[in-house]
């Protein structure tokens, strides 16, 4: 399975990962081999086998609806690059 350069660039953009030009062919090869594995899996006859959404044979435990968290804003904001007035600041997201 071959992945086009464009496809790699699009995936990189969606995933916000910087891939420099020199590594694109290597990344393409590695992703291709993953897709080959997927092809192999898809070749297996799964007729009558129920789809599995999690590899563990267990079901989700549920929490009671009770407040257990306290306000730790100061601690969290101490490690943020920019804060003001209790808000996290990020580069402007609208024009």
């Amino acid at each position: 399975m071959n992945i086009e350069r464009q496809e790699i660039e699009k995936l990189a953009t969606l995933a916000r990962i910087a891939i420099d030009d020199s590594t694109i062919s290597e990344v393409s090869q590695r992703l291709s081999s993953v897709l080959d594995l997927v092809d192999q899996l898809q070749a297996v006859d799964t007729e009558g086998v129920e789809a599995m959404s999690h590899p563990m044979q267990a079901t989700q435990r549920l929490r009671e609806d009770e407040v257990t968290e306290i306000n730790q804003r100061e601690a969290f904001q101490a490690i943020a690059p920019e804060t003001e007035d209790g808000l996290f600041l990020v580069p402007k997201v609208i024009e």
């Binding site: 699009k10 969606l14 995933a15 916000r16 789809a51 959404s53 999690h54 563990m56 267990a58 079901t59 989700q60 435990r61 549920l62 929490r63 009671e64 609806d65 009770e66 407040v67 257990t68 968290e69 306000n71 730790q72 804003r73 969290f76 904001q77 920019e82 003001e84 007035d85 209790g86 808000l87 996290f88 600041l89 990020v90 580069p91 402007k92 997201v93 609208i94």
Partner: protein, 485 residues
């Protein structure tokens, strides 16, 4: 050429849980920014989500209320996209196996007809935080408040069964009535507790093929929804009739400017690369748990409407309006029990009170006039102590916080005169003082006399400072004038 409109809705409903869907942080509205965003909500490394049982139960209750199949096994997926108000870089949601499957909702239209709208499914997911673009901070930045991040939502997806704005609004109101009656959502639209995405397309009348649809996102009132639909339908027809084609796109409607714009493709990145969330196991709900929730379902709008007709002898129309909103229904019943006059209680709840609340953008839960106070006012209208006109004045007084109806009637001397002896004397005095008018009345053609009564009424009401009971005065006046003929 005539066109058919096809509308489908996606409704985001914030669930009224005390805590987030995956963490024990509070969901209380209006807290200081980021004081209710814990390590899980902030996506700190090493944290694991644990699903809130109440959120699951609320979603199931909704499913039961719309006769839907409940997914005995449901699962969560990750919807991947980057936006600063979503710290994880994905939204945890349900795609392949939602908790609520196909269902049905019946809507009632203004002409009295009903229509079935199919529910495609409803799924559990988490809300995002809020981005602020203006505020007390450096204007090169956006401010992020993550208090809302992780608030549980159900997203209700309808089939494209509606064909105009009226039907879409009726459906939205019906869902509002259902979720507030269930108590699974506070229904406060001004706080974003319910938000609507509207999918609209048009096709030549009678055509089987659907047109290309657009999605207008994040409408938070019925009014905006109606406007946005009407404008989008017009726009699409204009584009097609001018020989153009509709682009499948996401649009944002600005309720202040009444203009919708296409979202930039950058904002849209419609490639979410969903995959099963490895942090969450499949959610299994037993038949017993579902049966237990079904047994305890509160009264729903349809059942309540039937009861209002039966118990209070209301018209279908009145009963439909009063039962559609849980808070309004509760208010109406409290007024009725305070005054024992359902018809008047209904009129005042739907009329004066609703109009005033609408005007001032208040929900009935925040009404300055309590149900007990309105009941007190209606009691005085019903026993003829005050006229309808005085009642409006008293209502204004209660609204302004001047006290109960009786206190205001007393303080303002508004008591209506219904004592027939006093009224007869008053009428007689006015007739004596206005002999010319009386002569004129007698000399007028019989068929035209009725029109002359208004003049006498005016004088009598003036003489009584507006306090005479108008129905009684009418009777006495007609009788006295007849005697003079």
């Amino acid at each position: 050429m005539s066109w058919d409109t096809v509308i489908g809705l996606e409704i985001h409903v914030q669930l009224a849980t005390k805590t987030k869907i995956f963490s024990g942080a509070s969901t209380a509205y209006g807290a200081e920014p980021n004081t209710q965003a814990c390590a899980i909500d902030l996506a700190m490394p090493g944290t694991l989500p644990v699903l809130n049982k109440q959120a699951v139960n609320y979603a199931i209750m909704f499913g039961l209320a719309v006769d839907a199949e409940i997914g005995q096994v449901s699962a969560f997926e990750r919807k991947n996209y980057f936006y600063p108000d979503s710290p994880k870089g994905y939204q945890t949601t349900q795609l392949e196996r939602p908790i609520v499957g196909r269902g049905n909702v019946e809507i009632q239209l203004a002409d009295g007809s009903t229509k079935n709208v199919r529910i495609h499914h409803a799924h559990l997911e988490e809300d995002a935080g809020k981005s602020l673009h203006e505020g007390n901070f450096n204007s090169n930045f956006s401010g992020i408040d993550l208090n809302r991040a992780g608030t549980p939502l159900i997203e209700i997806v309808s089939e494209p069964d509606m064909c105009n704005a009226e039907e879409a609004v009726a459906f939205a109101r019906k869902i509002h009535g259902i979720v507030t009656s269930l108590g699974i959502c506070d229904g406060e639209m001004s706080q974003g507790s319910m938000r609507f995405d509207v999918n609209v397309s048009v096709k030549p009348s009678g055509s089987e093929t659907l047109g290309i649809r657009t999605e207008t996102k994040n409408l938070n009132s019925y009014k905006f929804m109606e406007e946005a639909i009407k404008r989008e339908v017009e726009r699409q027809i204009d584009v097609i009739e001018d020989g153009g084609t509709i682009a499948q796109e996401t649009r944002l409607y600005n309720g202040d400017t009444k203009v919708a714009r296409s979202m930039r493709s950058k904002e849209e990145a419609n490639d979410y690369r969903y995959f099963p969330c490895p942090d969450l196991l499949p959610v299994v709900v037993s038949d017993e748990e579902v049966a237990e929730l079904r047994r305890n379902l509160p009264e729903l709008p349809d059942a309540r409407q039937a009861r209002f007709v039966e118990q209070y002898s209301l018209s279908d129309y009145d009963a439909a309006i009063l039962s559609s909103d849980a808070a309004m229904a509760k208010y109406f019943e409290a007024v009725t029990s305070a005054c024992n006059n359902a018809k008047l209680a209904a009129n005042w709840t739907m009329g004066e009170l609703s109009a005033r609340l609408n005007n001032e953008d208040l929900s009935i839960a925040n009404s300055p006039v309590s149900a007990a106070q309105l009941g007190g006012l209606v009691t005085r209208i019903a026993d003829n102590s005050i006229s309808g006109k005085m009642a409006k004045e008293v209502f204004d007084g209660i609204w302004a916080g001047e006290g109960s109806a009786d206190e205001i009637i007393e303080a303002r001397g508004l008591k209506q005169v219904s004592d027939s002896g006093a009224l007869e004397q008053m009428v007689a005095d006015v007739l004596t003082a206005n002999q010319a008018m009386v002569d004129d009345y007698i000399n007028t053609d019989e068929a035209k006399r009725k029109k002359k009564l208004g003049g006498f009424m005016g004088k009598i009401m003036q003489a009584s400072k507006g306090q005479a009971n108008p129905q009684q005065v009418n009777q006495i006046l007609a009788q006295k004038l007849n005697e003079l003929l």
